[in-house]
């Protein structure tokens, strides 16, 4: 899987998309209910290329940034279609965070996020 830096997130820091720990990747046997006591999941059948495209578009969308470097930056975008499950709910929201440093390299990864997720504190894009 390639990891070329994107022009966004932001380009000057050469952030690259990452699979992270794959905890939000779909699995065989995934169910919406399992996200109540487990990590958010992309819908079954979502490919890494699709996840990367969703998350790259999120970091590139004007106004999606909720916080900026240095440190961890976060991005939120309403994709407009259900992309996965979080907290037992279907969700259309894509949440991405970018972190890292000079030595370890900077990378971004994301996940579907329910509107009820405490991280959003009631705010939607």
């Amino acid at each position: 899987m390639s990891t070329s830096p994107t022009a966004s997130c932001p380009g000057r820091l050469s952030c690259a998309w990452s699979q992270h720990d794959r905890s939000h990747f779909p699995t065989h046997g995934s169910t919406q209910a399992k996200t109540q006591r487990g990590p958010a999941k992309y819908l079954p059948g979502t490919t890494p290329a699709q996840m990367r495209a969703i998350e790259t578009a999120t970091v590139a969308t004007p106004g999606a940034a909720r916080s900026q470097p240095p440190g961890k930056s976060e991005y939120l975008r309403d994709v407009g279609a259900v992309i996965g499950w979080d907290k037992g709910e279907e969700t259309t929201l894509s949440f991405v965070e970018c972190s890292g440093g000079d030595l370890a390299g900077r990378a971004f990864h994301g996940r579907p996020m329910a509107a009820s997720n405490h991280k959003l504190a009631g705010r939607r894009p």
Binding site: A16, S23, T27
Partner: protein
């Protein structure tokens, strides 16, 4: 050992008995001190989303024995997503961690940040993926994340069905990781011989 070779280093979370291995290349190790890696692990050990599940998991794992459901990822190299069956709510297992085969570690190493860390939600499976190595990985995960609790006896329940017999479990994992090929399917003839009349007619033609 070449600079691209994979090495691992067991480091502790700052001020804690919790620990995990960092997998990185020898080249990367030359550029990073153990302190830097320890700091990185400390920062990333517990994902914010996972923090609320840790007390639930600790309670569930404090039993003498525990059932772990595993679900294979859809994308090769396949990871396993491990869920701990909570005796108090058996229908709602709690996500524990992703169990990663070494092939996946190698793939993740190719991506930024080029260091793969064993965290509270990520555990590497050593060696080939078998029932024994998966159980061993789960035991290692419990021991790393909750060093104060006694590691329970682990019973695996791999997707798609509860499989209790060790031989059935082994067969399932073998199917998952080594899909059958024409050469390994036990039924059917090892070679195909066309009917003699067909070969005769072809010769005649």
């Amino acid at each position: 050992m070449s600079g691209g070779a994979l090495v691992n280093l067991d480091v502790h979370v700052n001020g804690s008995m919790q620990h995990g291995r960092a997998f990185l290349t020898l080249d990367a190790l030359r550029k990073m001190s153990e302190e830097t890696i320890g700091s990185l692990l400390s920062t990333r050990f517990v994902d914010e989303d996972h923090a609320e599940r840790l007390p639930l998991l600790e309670r569930a794992l404090s039993q003498p024995s525990v059932t772990i459901e595993t679900y294979p990822g859809e994308i090769p190299p396949h990871e396993l997503h491990a869920y701990v069956v909570d005796a108090e709510a058996p229908d709602a297992p709690i996500f524990g961690c992703v169990l990663a085969p070494l092939a996946l570690v190698h793939e993740l190493m190719a991506e930024a940040p080029h260091v793969v860390l064993e965290t509270a939600t990520f555990q590497v499976i050593d060696g080939d993926v078998t029932n024994a190595s998966v159980i061993s990985a789960i035991e290692a995960w419990v021991g790393r994340v909750w060093p104060a609790i006694r590691v329970p006896a682990v019973r695996l329940s791999p997707w798609p069905a509860h499989v209790e017999a060790a031989d059935k479990g082994a067969a399932l994992y073998k199917l998952l990781w080594f899909p059958p090929t024409v050469g390994t399917v036990p039924s059917g003839p090892p070679t195909f011989s066309p009917p003699s009349d067909l070969t005769d007619s072809e010769r005649a033609a």
